[in-house]
Amino acid sequence: MFAVLLSVLIVSSVSAGLALVLVTAERFVSNYGECTITINEDKKLTVQGGKNVLAALTEAKLFIPSACGGRGTCGYCKVKATEGAGPVLPTETPFLTPEELQDNVRLSCQIKIRNDLKIEIPEELLAVREYESVCTEITDLTYDMKLFRFELHDPPTIEFVPGQYVQLLCPRYKGNREEVYRAYSIASDPVDNKVMDLIIRRVPDGICTTWCFEYLKAGDTVRFNGPYGEFRLSRTEAPMIWVAGASGMAPFVSLLHQMKNEHITRPTAYFFGGNKVKDMFYIDHMKQFEAELENFRFVPVVAAPDEGERWQGERGLVTEALQRASADLGGHEGYLCGSPGMIDAAIKVMKQLGVTEERIFYDKFA
């Protein structure tokens, strides 16, 4: 009996002693103190060391684009780190080109703040703001897609270039223990800047889409930041080919509004692909745009309509429809938005049809 008690006592006290050592070590070894981040040789930011640069900047209300929320999987949160960032980590190399490596470009979510840093971020990102809005309308588009309309409160309007996206803050809810940001393209008219529309497709087990589909109700307050992204209409007169699938529709709705507002009449063919007839939506909207924009043509494509379904449009993959419709696309510009698989396939087809690489613009869902 005595031996049992004694052994329990010994193990407890040894564990307690070791725990004490670890706590002290954590206090001293993992304590990086206060560090200063100098942004663009101008703005100074004092933060507690130990966390990553992306998190520190977000806390200071400076928003760097990031679709994955700092897990190092999207490769968007690039900043130029000129001093004090340490060696490039193996987690970053897949996202950086040799030129970027040469140029000290890093993924801000992978740089742990251990000392004072100097970073450079594009000035336009400093214009990115955080918005508070109220969700006013949720409309079903298909069985797995909804249109969410947000009315802006603080600040009351948003300025963006059509094609850009925002990052929606998904709060904690049952089954999600931390706040995350997810990127969605804006699908509304830039002139109508008091509201913003997002088209969201439900992703099975997706953290943010589950929240949008099951928890978000009209009247709820929603926070987001933005706008971000380089996907936009070029300032040329070249004819355009657009290719999209599912919620890839979103930026194009915004682009169409822009074309209508600015009387852009560049010849445009918009190939929109879905797997089944039930995946198609906004057909009427597109008809409306076809009527209003003289050189705009909408081509809905269904890959595999079910037996007995009425489908009068194109059939097959969207890339097949593109090949059937056009023999030579030399001189055209390509605009793509959708899943990485679809985009890669579409880029391949466009190149075969004569569109040069620097004239293909895309927004890939990471």
């Binding site: 010994i10 040894v14 070791l18 050592v21 670890l22 070894v29 993992s30 060696p87 980590l89």
Partner: protein, 198 residues
């Protein structure tokens, strides 16, 4: 035994632990990380060094804990639990230090650094040191040798596996399968060292 003799003994034990009694190739301890982290020489070297470091120091710590806590209290049977606790805490400590001072090594080892905690070679070395009744200095020599032996084995394996990149391994044997076969062949080769120390 005087100090000089102890150091000589420690050197011999160290040598023996590397070659004749290699903890991996003779006792087959620490196999899981050996199989999973031996794809690249660079990573294998990092993990191997971590093992050398942790093993040498935990053997020393465990020796002290055994000699000055367990023996006086006649709780020798408790060494399994106590050793594990000490190893776990120590690895945690090393992890913190590496994260602070060598982030590159930290990221290269990734999840395998905490795995050293449950690396049976580390516990094995401490238990062997007790069974064989080594003195403190000899025990340190033994810990260092066992670690170096493990490092040698994983480096050799990583080198072989890198070269095997071009080899046409049958589909069913790829990965752990062929690794275990190679480990077996290496163990056979190491039998050649038997008797070196007479």
């Amino acid at each position: 035994m005087n100090i000089g003799a102890q150091f000589w003994m420690a050197a011999v034990t160290c040598f023996a632990a590397i070659f004749t009694n290699n903890i991996l190739l003779s006792y087959f301890l620490g196999m899981c990380s050996f199989v999973s982290v031996s794809r690249e020489v660079k990573t294998a070297f990092g993990l191997g060094c971590a093992v050398v470091f942790v093993m040498t120091l935990t053997v020393a710590l465990d020796w002290l804990a055994y000699r000055y806590i367990l023996i006086p209290l006649e709780l020798e049977f408790f060494r399994f639990i106590l050793f594990i606790i000490i190893i776990a805490a120590f690895v945690q400590f090393v992890e913190m230090v590496i994260d602070r001072y060598s982030p590159k090594l930290y990221y290269a080892l990734g999840i395998f650094l905490p795995l050293i905690t449950v690396n049976c070679a580390i516990l094995g070395a401490s238990l062997f040191m007790v069974i064989r009744e080594y003195t403190f200095i000899v025990a340190i020599g033994y810990g260092l040798g066992s670690g170096l032996g493990w490092l040698l084995a994983i480096m050799a394996m990583a080198g072989i596996r890198q070269r095997m990149g071009q080899a046409r391994v049958p589909a069913g044997l790829q990965g752990p399968g062929i690794t275990l076969i190679i480990a077996g062949l290496m163990a056979l080769a190491f039998i050649g060292f038997t008797g070196v120390l007479g």
